[in-house]
Symmetry: C2
Subunit: 163 residues, 2 copies
Amino acid sequence: MDADQLDLSILAELSTNARISQIELSNRMGLSSTAIARRQRALEDDGYIKGYQAMLDLSRFGLNTTVLVRVTLDSQSDEALKLFEMGIVKCPSVIRCFLMSGSDDYLLIVLARDIEDFERIHRTELSPLPRVSRIQSNFAIREIVNRAVPPIVFGKPGRSRRR
Amino acid sequence: MDADQLDLSILAELSTNARISQIELSNRMGLSSTAIARRQRALEDDGYIKGYQAMLDLSRFGLNTTVLVRVTLDSQSDEALKLFEMGIVKCPSVIRCFLMSGSDDYLLIVLARDIEDFERIHRTELSPLPRVSRIQSNFAIREIVNRAVPPIVFGKPGRSRRR
DNA sequence: TATGAAAGGCCGTGAAC
DNA sequence: GTTCACGGCCTTTCATA
């Protein structure tokens, strides 16, 4: 299946308003609600839509501090990477972790309540991870852009996007 | 309003399954669907829930490459920061942008189709931004953790979280 | 202040075309 | 892709502790 422009419009709407009713959607798209429902279901079945999630205001839970952390291991063996990764997935304050090219570094995004809280996370969650040799932390002082989906997916300015 | 343990359970469920019905939720929570609906509405009105979004499989759109980009400006004046930030919010391939402490660096997360596509983004979206003096790019070769909400919010292992 | 039960309208679903 | 009918869900109201 190949998503056409109408499918992209549906995805654009659902990506910011996942609980919109079929009827409301169909009014905006100028199509019957049944047709919309079928297309939405097809987008789910074909894996374009992985699921639906509530967006929470994390500052409402006291999580006001974002920290970018670079971790260097003491070895680049598969065993070391595997051990580290098995540990990092269990760290409750880590929301993203990338293995970066060009070095043996991982980049983490960590959420903390404040700087003291990050000190605790550093000590109790990150430092004890296996094979860690160096941890460098940088605090984000402001967030300018935060979106889950780049608008280029919906054909905003970008170029053609057919398979 | 202060979220109690039942509210946290509702949030935990909605954060991974935003389109669950009230009745299904009420069966799992052991509460009437009316009570669940009222609590959910209160969580929305009080700002705990900012909205609901569809999770898209970006690889289905050909976006298989994540790049972490550090940008240094040629000046640290408020004017320079403001100009740069007005430009970066319009870049369709940038999904996150942080102003980092300790330097005049911004950290961006950019999504591209592949390395050639990133070269295009670098040339057409990033380099033309005002006041940019240096751009360093690192490719993510694997993603180990990716979640929107740290499990600590729902009281998984962490410590007390009352106001 | 928060819950539970029941009525009514709206929405989602599936058949037929 | 559309229409239509049915069944279920969501919403509101009201009674209760």
